[in-house]
């Protein structure tokens, strides 16, 4: 292993009202230097718990984690020097100005005042904060506040930046804006580890994605690789209500050699994976027509990370209580 972040068999259990909940169940991964690594999964999958273990906030029950070459359990203080962390809540002081927040944060890393002041000026420019840097944070918009949160996370020029759900609650425009800033950090050599439950975010922003469900990793790779593994396109079928419809549809699909596999989402939609969607669609329609099956809907989609999630877990991420960006 030679990553900036390395996790081996990470485990975490919580006890709630006498029940033991295994939040993270033996997670392994390696994050390479200078990549944007996305941790994708529904709420409650174990993303934040994993992140908190990697950032020294939560004790590791079992397994081992190394960040920036340091063992997280053995040398938490040294790990803190070298990582930045932006929680879901952000945690900037409402009553202080953006600049004051950044100054204090930099000073807490042991830097001298003049050094921090120069760095803060640089950050205010880098993250487009300069025009409101001397207003109190409570007057900031959601997007402004989020950019300040990110600035707080990198004031000490960390090697690794952890972002927990960085764009939750932001509108599409501010989300795209923040993505641009995160890519800019990557281009400056910062390794970014982020969690998200937005498929589009993982797809558009991340160099590599790891999908976690119920404390276990179900897939890992670049978004392109993950989708390629699904093979081809997805034909999405919505069936009628009449008796036996699903059995008859299954017969038709089984007789069609170009359909590689089929999964059923919780909302009843059937996802059929084929090599060549535009060719398969009319052929499928002909076969359904011949079998006198009436469909309520049929559509063609290029595979998304949701198809990957569905193929690996049998559930759609969209159905898993996760909000989806539009």
């Amino acid at each position: 292993m030679s990553g900036v972040i390395e996790a081996r068999e990470l485990r975490k259990r919580f006890t709630a009202r006498g029940n033991v909940v295994e939040a993270v169940r033996g997670v392994n991964f390696v994050v390479a230097p200078g990549e944007i690594f996305g941790f994708l999964g529904p709420n409650g999958a174990g993303k934040t718990t994993t992140l908190r273990m990697l950032t020294t906030l939560l004790a590791i029950d079992e397994g081992e984690a190394r960040v920036a070459g340091l063992d997280v359990t053995a040398e938490p203080a040294k790990v803190r020097e070298r990582i930045g962390y932006v929680s879901q809540l952000g945690g900037a002081d409402n009553l202080a100005t953006g600049r004051e927040n950044l100054m204090l944060q930099g000073r807490l890393y042991g830097r001298e005042r003049s050094h921090v002041a120069a760095r803060v000026d640089q950050l205010l420019g880098l993250l487009d904060l300069a025009s409101f840097a001397d207003r109190t944070v409570k007057t900031y918009s959601g997007g402004q506040r989020r950019r300040l949160d990110v600035a707080l996370g990198i004031v000490h020029e960390p090697e690794v930046l952890f972002l927990d759900e960085p764009t939750t609650g932001l509108d599409p425009q501010n989300r795209a804006n923040l993505w641009t800033h995160v890519r800019g950090l990557r281009d400056r050599g910062v390794t970014v580890f982020l969690t998200t439950h937005y498929l589009e975010e993982a797809d558009a922003l991340c160099d590599r994605v790891m999908i976690i469900d119920d404390g276990t990793i179900v897939a890992e790779g670049s978004p392109r690789e993950l989708k390629r593994d699904i093979v081809g396109d997805a034909v999405v079928l919505r069936l009628g209500d009449e008796d036996g419809a699903s059995e008859r549809v299954a017969e038709v699909l089984a007789s069609a050699p170009f359909v590689h596999s089929t999964t059923q989402a919780e909302d009843g939609e059937l996802h059929c994976y084929v090599d060549d969607g535009p060719a398969a669609l009319p052929e499928l329609l002909r076969r359904f027509d011949a079998a006198q099956i009436v469909l309520r809907g049929i559509s063609l989609s290029e595979p998304t990370l949701d198809d990957v999630f569905l193929a690996k877990t049998g559930r759609s991420l969209r159905d898993s209580g996760a909000g989806v960006a539009v």
Partner: protein, 252 residues
């Protein structure tokens, strides 16, 4: 030294917050002022009570100072709760700042504001005939600081453990009244039956109140003073150690 530096930075941060939102400063000052204004006059007509000799304020004002240390310490957890829920605590915990400094920073500011209020209360007292004994009051300041730190550390730790306002308020309010009544803040415990006196000896506030009465009169002999130091010093150290330990693990 890192601890001193980090504590200073975080104390200054809290001071800025207080100065920008001074409303609650006045709130915490109203309680002791109300006691002075609305309770002291009641005592004037019971001079026969044992332990209430001489000027009523000489007996009562030291108790009010102890009470202020108690309430401002016990309330320290409210801002901890707020900052926990706003993610501030988590943000600070990921920095390499000393864990003890994370705890002490806000407490130092709270202690300074308590001393400002103490001075105000003494000034008001003087206007109504309180007799100032400087050496005694200086020693009392040390005891008040010890007690404030103890209560504030415990309150912070309980806030971090309960994580939300209802649980925290239940604990604090549940403990507040019995400790206050069993400390002889308002009237000396010696007025009550002996079982109250026995119970009071399990209450750290009782030692502070007893010592404060003696010190306000510049009485350094007698058991009250050394007993107070003997109880409050280790208690303060234990509370700070425990709260720092809780701080290491706190997650919103």
């Amino acid at each position: 030294m890192k601890l001193v530096r980090d504590t200073g930075l975080l104390a200054w941060r809290r001071a800025q917050q207080l100065l920008r939102n001074p409303v609650w400063l006045f709130v915490s000052l109203t309680v002791p002022l109300l006691y002075l204004a609305l309770f002291t006059p009641l005592l004037k007509d019971i001079p026969a009570a044992p332990g209430l000799g001489g000027n009523v304020l000489d007996e009562f004002l030291p108790g009010i100072l102890a009470l202020l240390a108690f309430t401002s310490g016990a309330n320290a957890g409210f801002s901890t709760l707020f900052e926990l829920q706003a993610g501030v605590i988590e943000r600070l915990r990921v920095t390499p700042a000393s864990r003890l400094a994370l705890l002490l920073g806000p407490l130092v500011t709270g202690m300074v504001s308590m001393f400002v209020f103490d001075l105000l209360l003494v000034a008001v007292g003087v206007a109504f005939g309180f007799d100032v004994h400087v050496p005694g009051l200086l020693v009392l300041a040390v005891l008040l600081a010890l007690f404030y730190l103890t209560m504030a550390a415990l309150s912070t730790a309980i806030a971090l453990l309960t994580k939300e306002i209802t649980g925290f308020a239940a604990v604090v309010n549940g403990v507040n009244l019995p400790l206050m009544l069993l400390a002889g803040v308002l009237l000396p415990i010696s007025l009550g039956p002996s079982w109250m006196g026995v119970l009071a000896h399990f209450n750290p506030l009782y030692y502070l109140v007893s010592a404060s009465r003696a010190l306000a009169l510049d009485v350094f002999s007698g058991g009250a003073l050394w007993q107070a130091f003997a109880v409050l010093t280790p208690l303060c150290a234990l509370s700070l150690a425990w709260a720092t330990r809780v701080y290491r693990r706190a997650v919103a």
